[in-house]
């Protein structure tokens, strides 16, 4: 196992795998419809060529390499190449427009950048006049780029590198040997929910500690395999597809394109899987929609056996005692329904599946576990290498994020904020000593900004962002995220924004899930022309009202939160979108911004108006702007008398 002292940087881990499992598949990518495989020794060879190429072009120790694109093997290898030279890769969110690139490129003083394709190169070229330092551009996919001047292809870069390597044979190994475990290995930018994004500097030691802890906790080995499809700029992908990949030596698989992820997942059948709750939700929605089209007997089988699974599936997975009859039925269901369903979802081989990033609905969570997918939750931030809490195999709880991961200490501050300490903490925010000092206290605890509680068994339960937890005018606690999540657990609701801080009552904006509600409407022969039209239908309002009232009924039973029941709501005329700054790139609602932007609507919610006219400028994906106007109906929701929690 790679725990010997010398293996303390990622490039050294890479060379180690190339030596001990040279022929073992390290990276796969589907290209022209066929899965291509690169072994560890081939990957090491490519990384060597990239690193030498970059060095020949003037990339020096301490420099930053911007990496922009979908999950492509060559981009992952470029990360390792930059690290081998003592440089720092800076992956960036590939769907951000050029204007958003400018800030990060300047902040990180980028001189070298590698981009996936013409789309990304065009954005970099557009950003260039505002980023004086940017001088070297490389690209992976040459389509459409043949006649661009001043950009260099990957093939050319590696050709230069191989030449350089031949001329200076000891160079690469000497550079790798210079690396120190406490060097910064990666800079990941925070999503910028508040203010400008900050570059989080993580060392080799921190990410290796996180990778090691996770790998040992879940017994990951070189035989595991994972689908790498989440943004490379996101800390989770860096942990699973890079740090753990290089620690455990397993295989990462890059999908053909963003749209083929489902098919690719089915073909690869990974053993280890990560997806945000939204993906699990979409998968389930698709299954449910397709089941409605299935024959009567299949529908009956599905209903019957998911019923069995709901009754005893999770208990069987957790190793609890379950009666013989139920065990027999469950085994039967496994043959008829669960097995084939896991197969369709590409989850047949999954040993461990994780979700994080947002709260997952208990029903959704139970569903996957009950059909035999070992879905667990974890908790962490960019600043903690996405490694704070993990749920153990046989001790999952639906409403917690698990117990402290090996090597991590958790403490709850008096304010309710979750504090963590351990080897996986950030070294610093880049060029932001003030922010670093603010987030790490004198005792070395990092302030997560999340409000949480630790339950009797040591499991952490996250309630909301600490700064979002407010009070209603009456003084009752108001946790907007908590309410929004409850709303979002309904498949028909995609986003929700709850208001109530310092107000008399709670009101909410709702975004319907266009796919799910659209399908619902089609089945009822309800004609609609687009999102805005569908969102304004009376029938849809009724549908959403039911959801809101169910949430109210739940809140009524939760003691202090009973006062947070939703009085009035409206369905927004457009989908909240990161391009309009309403969501962050990781799709978290910017509540304050939304509240200000749609102030006319929040005013209408609280003034008792029945209808309000609104006009909004929207940015299309192509960068142009348009206007959406609508008369929005504001609906009242039924509320329930508070029931004190029994013995609470």
């Amino acid at each position: 196992m790679p725990a010997t002292p010398a293996l303390d940087t990622f490039p050294r881990l890479l060379l180690h795998h190339a030596k001990v499992r040279g022929n073992h598949p390290a990276t796969r990518e589907k290209d022209l419809g066929i899965w291509q495989t690169w072994s560890w020794s081939q990957v090491a060879d490519e990384v060597r060529a990239i690193a030498c190429g970059l060095a020949a072009q003037g990339f020096r120790r301490g420099m930053h390499l911007a990496i922009i694109g979908d999950n492509r093997p060559r981009l992952y290898w470029s990360m390792a190449a930059a690290e081998a030279l003592g440089g720092v890769p800076v992956p960036m969110y590939q769907d951000a427009p050029a204007a958003e690139f400018v800030y990060v490129l300047n902040d990180a003083e980028i001189v070298f950048a590698i981009a996936e394709d013409q789309e990304q190169v065009d954005k970099l070229v557009e950003a260039m006049p505002q980023v004086p330092s940017l001088a070297h551009l490389y690209y992976d996919d040459e389509r459409g780029l043949r006649n661009y001047e001043g950009v260099v292809s990957y093939d050319e870069l590696t050709r230069i590198g191989r030449e350089h390597d031949r001329a200076n044979p000891g160079f690469f190994d000497a550079e790798v040997a210079k690396g120190d475990t406490h060097d910064v290995s990666i800079m990941l930018y925070t999503s910028g929910t508040t203010g400008k994004p900050k570059g989080v500097c993580q060392t080799h030691a921190a990410f290796i500690a996180a990778a090691k802890g996770g790998a040992e906790f879940d017994r990951l080995t070189a035989q595991d395999s994972i689908l790498s499809y989440l943004p490379m700029a996101w800390v989770g992908d860096h942990l699973f597809s890079y740090a753990q990949w290089l620690y455990a030596g397993f295989t990462i698989n890059c999908p053909e394109s963003g749209e083929t992820v489902m098919t690719d997942l089915r073909e690869i059948g990974p053993t280890y899987y990560f997806a945000p709750p939204r993906v699990f939700e979409n998968l389930l929605t698709q299954v449910m929609i397709r089941m409605e089209d299935a024959s009567a007997i299949k529908r009956w089988l599905f209903r019957y056996f998911t019923g069995v699974a709901r009754r005893c599936g999770s208990e069987i997975m957790d190793g609890h005692a379950v009666g013989f009859a139920d065990r027999f039925l469950y085994a039967l269901g496994n043959v008829f329904i669960y097995g084939p369903l896991r197969n369709v979802l590409g989850m047949s081989n999954i040993r461990i599946a994780y979700t994080a990033g947002a709260a997952i609905g208990p029903d959704l969570y139970r569903f996957y576990r009950s059909i035999g997918v070992n879905l667990k939750q974890l908790y962490g931030q960019t600043e903690t290498c996405a490694y704070v809490c993990l749920q153990p195999d046989r001790g999952v709880k639906f409403d917690t994020v698990g117990e402290a991961a090996p090597g991590v200490e958790i403490k709850i501050a008096e304010s309710g904020e979750v504090l963590v300490r351990g080897p996986m903490l950030l070294k610093e925010y880049y060029k932001r000593a003030d922010a670093t000092a603010e987030s790490i206290d004198a005792n070395g605890y990092f302030h997560t900004g999340d409000a949480g509680v630790i339950d009797g068994t040591g499991h952490l339960k996250i309630i909301d962002r600490a700064k979002d937890v407010g009070r209603l005018a009456s003084g009752a606690m108001f946790a907007p995220n908590y309410i929004e999540n409850k709303l979002k657990f309904f498949p028909h609701i995609k986003e929700a924004v709850a208001f109530g801080a310092n107000r008399d009552s709670v009101c909410a904006f709702v975004n319907i899930d266009f796919g799910s509600v659209g399908n619902w409407a089609e089945r009822r022969a309800l004609a609609y022309s687009g999102y805005t039209d569908l969102a304004g239908k009376t029938e849809v309002y009724e549908l959403i009202k039911e959801c809101v009232e169910k949430v109210n009924a739940e809140l009524a039973t939760e003691g202090d939160l009973a006062a947070s029941q939703i009085h009035r709501f409206l369905i927004l005329h457009k989908e909240l979108d990161p391009d309009d700054d309403e969501l962050t790139r990781t799709r978290k609602v910017r509540r304050g911004f939304v509240g200000e932007k749609y102030q006319v609507l929040t005013d209408a919610l609280y003034s008792g108006k029945k209808v309000e006219h609104v006009e909004t400028v929207v940015k299309f994906e192509d960068g142009r702007s348009g206007m959406v106007a609508a008369d929005l109906v504001i609906a009242d929701a039924k509320r329930f008398p508070a029931q004190g929690r029994a013995a609470a």
């Binding site: 290209d31 459409g144 661009y148 394109s257 192509d622």
Partner: protein, 272 residues
């Protein structure tokens, strides 16, 4: 969007427009007493994007059908790659590297996207029927080769995610893209596109523009396209022919055509 714009800018620099490959002289076509086309002449140069525009019923599709031999004009001649003839023959047109798409989508709805595109390779398959039936020898190698080519087209048009989906289940915009894929798979030297952007939303149109320009740039394919969205045409064409009631009323670069009085009248309507 910038992407299209910059791609366009680069593509104009990169491509060299050559001599005329196709010349139409004094073409007239009538169905019974209806004159669909009257005395029309224009040419298409190597590697250019040539648009034919005009209001509904102007004779645009008829013109395309004359070019690839579906209709035989009563008068006039067609000169394709130096050979003058009265009318094209459809098979000859295909064999000489002319491929097309249709206004109302002519795909095999029950077949997968992959198989539909594969049919575009039909003319290039040389193995005998028996070889193909038992998938042996030449047929096997050929299929591997053609499949690779088809996969390249699939990647080119970014339709990997629907590779195995039956065409009938796809939305309209994607079906149009599949039809373009099938035409490209034939590796044409002259590509005829009959309203490739009809019925599409803004985003789909932009994608389609990008693909048309990419085909033109990447493969050097000469493109003749019919379109009635003026904006699209002006952005991507090198030269434009304008038809109205079967007569040619304008011909030139997009800017020239835009300033042409007869064209403005035909589009905006004028009291005669």
């Amino acid at each position: 969007m910038n992407e299209t714009a910059s791609a366009g800018a680069h593509h104009l620099e990169a491509r060299r427009i050559g001599d005329p490959v196709l010349r139409l002289d004094h073409i007239s076509l009538a169905f019974g007493g209806v004159n669909a086309l009257t005395d029309i002449s224009f040419d298409v140069r190597e590697h250019e994007v040539r648009a034919i525009i005009g209001p509904n019923g102007a004779g645009k599709s008829s013109m395309l059908n004359v070019i690839n031999g579906v209709y035989r004009p009563q008068q006039g001649t067609i000169t394709f790659r130096g050979k003058e003839r009265r009318g094209m023959d459809t098979h000859e047109a295909a064999a000489h590297g002319i491929a097309r798409t249709f206004q109302n989508i002519a795909l095999f709805r029950g077949m997968s996207v992959l198989d539909n595109i594969m049919t575009g390779r039909n003319l290039k398959m040389k193995a005998t029927f028996v070889e193909q039936a038992i998938w042996w020898g030449r047929a096997r190698n050929e299929e591997l080769l053609h499949r690779r080519k088809v996969e390249e087209v699939i990647e080119f048009l970014e339709i990997q995610h629907i590779r195995k989906t039956p065409v009938g289940r796809l939305p309209y915009g994607l079906q149009k893209r599949v039809e373009l894929a099938r035409a490209i798979a034939a590796e044409p030297s002259l590509l005829l596109l009959d309203e490739p952007m009809a019925g599409m939303n803004v985003e789909e149109k932009q994608d389609m523009c990008r693909f048309v320009l990419d085909v033109n740039e990447q493969y050097g394919t000469t493109i003749v396209l019919i379109e009635h969205d003026m904006g699209v045409v002006m952005d991507i064409s090198d030269r434009v022919v304008v038809l109205d009631y079967g007569k040619k009323i304008g011909d030139g670069t997009p800017d020239e055509v835009r300033g042409n009085r007869a064209v403005i009248d035909a589009y905006l309507g004028v009291a005669h």
